[in-house]
Symmetry: C2
């Protein structure tokens, strides 16, 4: 196990830690266990008893579910400052999703007794946790509606735009999605198949809306993609 990250390494504006600073922030961070995850390693699995919850300090986690037949559905990618499984730990439930590190990730984990102690001492933590849950419910309601009513191509467009907003990097060519994504990943996020994703991206590439390579997407014409995502 590596040493706890330096305080200066802990990202500011974190969701969990919003409203906590100075010595308090120090205390909260030091009460947790630092954890390093290598690419593609599993942090926890859907169905396991939730004993620890985590905040991403650096890197990125993929949160997904599997159905009975083993088909994967990506619910979300989370990055610096975001939380996962806090509620499951608090309630003593099982993890509702599987969390996998995308690249190399650096996390801080807390167990339940620590969480309870910190929540009692630092009131912003409970509030911040509630906000996380609310924001996710809201997001999921919208995606549920999209999945229910929109065509596949439209949903793929929305997926790219969502990922662009959450993980976009400006480049001379356009905005690059900084998460390595296979066609299968995009399909699992959009509720379709890798073949349809591939065909769709090919079309958009010919239209110069995007530029794509192996696990790489650069959005060269966001405006066109937005228009398409809204009108089909």
């Amino acid at each position: 196990m590596e040493s706890a990250p330096l305080l200066s390494d802990v990202e500011q504006g974190l969701y969990l830690l919003k409203g906590i600073s100075g010595a308090d922030l120090d205390e909260v961070v030091n009460a947790g266990f630092p954890k390093i995850l290598h690419p593609k390693s599993v942090l926890f699995r859907q169905g396991d008893l939730a004993t620890m919850f985590f905040m991403v300090n650096h890197g990125r986690l993929k949160l997904s579910m599997m159905n009975e037949q083993g088909r994967e559905v990506i619910l979300r990618y989370i990055s610096s400052g975001e939380l996962t499984a806090a509620v499951a730990v608090l309630k003593g439930r099982n993890y509702p999703v599987t969390a996998v590190s995308v690249g190399k990730s650096e996390l801080i984990g807390w167990d339940k007794p620590t969480l309870l102690r910190l929540m009692a001492k630092f009131s912003p933590i409970a509030v911040n946790m509630l906000n996380v849950v609310l924001e996710r419910l809201d997001d999921l309601q919208n995606r549920y509606m999209e999945l229910s009513t929109e065509q596949v191509k439209q949903r793929i467009a929305r997926t790219l735009l969502r990922l662009m907003q959450r993980a976009g990097l400006k480049t001379p060519e356009g905005i690059q999605i900084s998460i390595p994504l296979t066609r299968q990943d995009i399909a699992d996020y959009s509720g379709t198949t890798l073949y349809t994703v591939s065909r769709t991206l090919s079309i958009w590439e010919k239209k110069d809306w995007i530029r794509s390579g192996r696990e790489t997407i650069v959005i060269t014409n966001p405006h066109a993609l937005v228009a398409f995502s809204e009108t089909g």
Copy 2:
């Protein structure tokens, strides 16, 4: 405006009011505004500023969203003791969904200042609100996965089973869903079309799994339906 419901009329075991009893329960209920809704009348619309939140005392509300093209998606039916829009009010946001009374409903509504006052005075309220949100997120994640990975018939089966669990009444013939539902409603809940719902129900009726009429569904063979919903 009619008078506040008698305390004896307020259902016990309510989600919002769990852990509150006696004079306290009285105080909370009396701080709200009673409201009677006639069948199919709109309580609030998606996009309106959320000024009041509600608890269903008797009856049932349909919570739905519309996409840009006007296609409706049913997110949930809620009944006695369940809450809606508490968070939107608390956060001063817009209602994220539209709420319509199914039959005649009796509600209690509270505004934001009252909510804040009650939350400060009665700590179970905040906890109960959090639990409502969590339960819905959990439910929605599962349905999102189903929508993403399962076939239409399977999803229709799951919809019937969900409604059966939440609104089932035992009858000599089987378990009847006590909500009047059109084929369109079932379609909006399952993410399909009224035609496909009609065809599917016809098939199941021939197999004697269900018995259906105008806005009526009786599940005569729940076991078969469960098996089908899990295996396709």
